[in-house]
């Protein structure tokens, strides 16, 4: 009898647990390269979301950036994608064009207006919002005061032409490369300069204005203003070059300064910061919006949207920026939080960099070609990039290089 009772109670408990477990909708969300540094942030976010949303169970999974796309494609094909995936803007456009992510307008409602205009434009494809804007960044200029003084440069450049002339002055007087611009995706520089890439279905990046703009880079390269291996320099190499004195200025995101602080204290102590100037495009350089998308095939998109709105809401965005110290929210209200301007007059360069960058966020747009324009993005981008490299490194006249790339693009665009 006793055994029967125990079994009955056990069965009831098991049954309740099973029903309860079934009642929870699991919302797995994937992020890129944020563990283990931000484990504490995500643990609190998950706990807070789960407590406020009975029946929903958020689950955080972090993976490397190069794994996330293949794994997502595999999970979509297998019919069990996660609720949310951390994407960058080009991926949003690619996946939206392929129909692999869900348009979110019907799930976000009025909350759409909480995001900054630039961020919303970044994630809008064919008039529909395809991602929850999350954290963003923007380039600043970090420079070595000693080198500037030696070159007789009194202040940081206020516009792009001043940046060019300052850099030339530094290289001429110190025989050191002045800076290492990111050249691995040159279309961003065209947008920065307010120069279009494709108009009326034709490539237009071989106009006299484009040629003159690329020529500036070719001249700077020839004069040794850029390191000769500038095309090989990614984020990591640029920081290492600045820390070791190979370049006088770092023109990159403020978080790079954290690395200078830990790896090269002597250089860090001589570092000052300034805003990265805008050019004709009136866009802050270096913006790279991170966001969350809902993959097609996830069975509960409305619930996924709840989590997306929570993670990219004002409160969580400020908390995340505080955790990273060097990224910025994409929501209007969060960006006004006093935290971002509190360090404007601080003795700490990282805090000053944060204040400088936050002021540029209004102009922050991810500088990438509009969605759906390129029929064969991989080949076309490769062709343009090869020709830009040929032009800047002096293997080909700029006009000839851009003409050749434009002809190759037009051939594909005409099909």
């Amino acid at each position: 009898m006793k055994l029967k009772k125990m079994l009955a109670v056990g069965a009831a408990v098991f049954g309740f647990a099973a029903v309860h477990a079934h009642a929870d909708t699991e919302l797995e969300f994937w992020t890129m390269n944020l563990a283990p540094k931000f484990n504490a942030y995500f643990e609190q976010a998950v706990t807070k979301f789960n407590a406020a949303n009975p029946g929903l169970k958020a689950k955080w999974v972090d993976m490397n950036w190069d794994q996330i796309q293949p794994k997502l494609v595999a999970s979509i094909a297998a019919g069990n994608p996660p609720a949310l995936v951390n994407f960058n803007v080009p991926w949003v456009h690619e996946f939206a064009a392929q129909g692999n992510i869900v348009a979110l307008d019907e799930y976000v409602g009025a909350a759409k207006n909480t995001y900054s205009a630039g961020a919303l434009k970044d994630v809008t494809v064919n008039g529909k919002m395809y991602a929850f804007p999350w954290y963003n960044s923007v380039s600043i200029i970090a420079y070595n005061k000693d080198v500037f003084n030696k070159a007789g440069v009194k202040s940081a450049p206020k516009n792009f032409d001043e940046l060019v002339s300052t850099a030339q002055k530094i290289t001429k007087s110190t025989k050191t490369a002045a800076f290492a611009p990111k050249l691995d995706n040159f279309e961003g520089w065209f947008y920065y300069a307010g120069l279009p890439m494709v108009q009326n279905g034709k490539a237009v990046f071989n106009s006299p204005k484009h040629v003159a703009f690329v020529q500036k880079f070719a001249d700077l390269y020839k004069a040794g203003v850029f390191p000769k291996d500038v095309f090989k320099m990614a984020f990591e190499q640029e920081i290492a070059a600045y820390n070791s004195g190979r370049i006088a200025m770092m023109t990159t995101a403020p978080q790079a300064l954290k690395r200078t602080e830990t790896d090269a204290k002597a250089v860090y102590d001589k570092t000052e910061v300034a805003a990265f100037p805008t050019d004709a495009g009136q866009r802050a350089f270096g913006a790279w919006l991170m966001d969350f998308v809902v993959p097609k095939g996830f069975k509960n998109p409305a619930e996924a949207a709840k989590l997306g709105l929570f993670l990219t809401g004002d409160e969580q965005q400020v908390l995340f920026s505080k955790a990273t110290e060097t990224t910025f929210p994409s929501s209007k209200k969060a960006n006004l939080d006093p935290y971002f301007q509190a360090g404007a007059k601080s003795a700490d360069v990282v805090e000053r960099a944060r204040a400088v960058a936050a002021k540029s966020m209004d102009n922050a747009r991810t500088l990438t070609i509009p969605p759906g324009v390129l029929p064969d993005a991989a080949s076309m981008n490769k062709k343009l990039q090869d020709e830009i490299q040929n032009a800047i490194e002096g293997r080909k006249p700029v006009k000839a290089a851009l003409d050749e790339a434009a002809a190759a693009w037009n051939e594909k665009l005409a099909k």
């Binding site: 796309q69 293949p70 494609v73 979509i76 094909a77 690619e94 392929q98 129909g99 692999n100 691995d184 390191p227 000769k228 291996d229 095309f231 090989k232 990591e236 190499q237 190979r246 097609k296 095939g297 064969d376 993005a377 991989a378 080949s379 490769k382 062709k383 990039q385 090869d386 490299q389 490194e393 293997r395 190759a408």
Partner: protein, 287 residues
């Protein structure tokens, strides 16, 4: 008493797990890839639409694919160099000399080092003013620093040097196993007959490790045609280093054109099979 057919059945039973796994994870994907190469595949609803030879026609006219294929074929130059070097190193470390255990381990370290980590180290070697430029300037071979991974004329060869460095230990171990399987008496008899070291190498070592040479050449040929990771880490396809597999990756995961990626994959497979046949004919046992 068991019949020969029951022995055969038992033998197939033993082989069954391996055959099932190979079927599932090797032959089925290859077959499915071949099917996709003639289709437009939509990942959203997992549907394939037959499109005849359109992907192959596209590849036939696609300049980037030609360049990628050419680079992959250039990459094959690393194979003979790597095999000869690995065999010579194996011969060297096969000697019972002091410190040989250390050298065997040292040559193997690159094999177990992850490509991204090794790549970061080599980026510093290849940097414009990096270790390689410094060394060659110091010994007077070059006057000025060289942009090793930025010059289209040399970048692909620099990537191949990295592949060589990474692979030599792996093939050395295989050759070492082959060398140690050669009976000592054969070598001793040759010494008694007055054969010198060079003659012994050509007349005894090379013929007796011929099956290992075939295996290693085959493996490194396939590896060379599949070169991808080193390109991602060192050049990201810039400076004329786009390889065939990089092209497949870009088509599949940047353009989401799985049909075209499959067609390109099938072309690479065709080259792999073709080269394997040539190698079997060249190194295989003559009947």
């Amino acid at each position: 008493m068991k019949t020969s057919s029951s022995y055969t059945a038992i033998a197939y039973l033993f082989l069954a797990p391996a055959l099932i796994l190979m079927g599932l994870f090797t032959f089925w994907p290859v077959g499915y890839n071949a099917y996709l190469a003639f289709n437009d595949y939509s990942i959203v609803d997992a549907t394939a639409t037959w499109n005849n030879f359109e992907h192959f026609k596209y590849l036939y006219h696609e300049e980037l694919f030609h360049d990628a294929l050419k680079n992959s074929l250039i990459f094959l130059l690393v194979v003979p160099v790597l095999q000869v070097a690995a065999l010579l190193v194996a011969k060297l470390v096969n000697n019972k000399l002091p410190g040989m255990t250390f050298f065997r381990a040292a040559y193997y370290i690159p094999v177990i080092t992850a490509v991204p980590i090794a790549g970061v180290a080599w980026l510093n070697v290849y940097r414009y003013d990096g270790l390689l430029s410094w060394f060659l300037k110091t010994i007077g071979i070059i006057q000025n620093d060289v942009n090793w991974l930025g010059e289209p004329e040399i970048a692909i060869y620099m990537v191949m040097v990295f592949t060589f460095w990474k692979g030599i230990g792996y093939y050395m171990v295989l050759y070492l196993a082959g060398l140690q399987a050669i009976p000592a008496e054969v070598e001793e008899a040759a010494i008694l007959d007055g054969a010198n070291a060079w003659q012994r190498f050509w007349k005894i070592t090379v013929p007796m490790v011929k099956p290992t040479i075939l295996l290693c050449t085959l493996l490194s040929t396939i590896a060379a045609l599949k070169s991808f990771q080193e390109v991602v880490v060192l050049t990201r396809g810039q400076a004329d280093t786009y390889t065939a597999l990089y092209y497949v990756y870009a088509q599949a995961f940047t353009n989401f054109n799985f049909g075209r990626a499959s067609a390109a994959g099938l072309v690479i497979t065709f080259f792999c099979v073709l080269l394997a046949i040539v190698q079997f004919r060249f190194f295989g046992e003559k009947k």
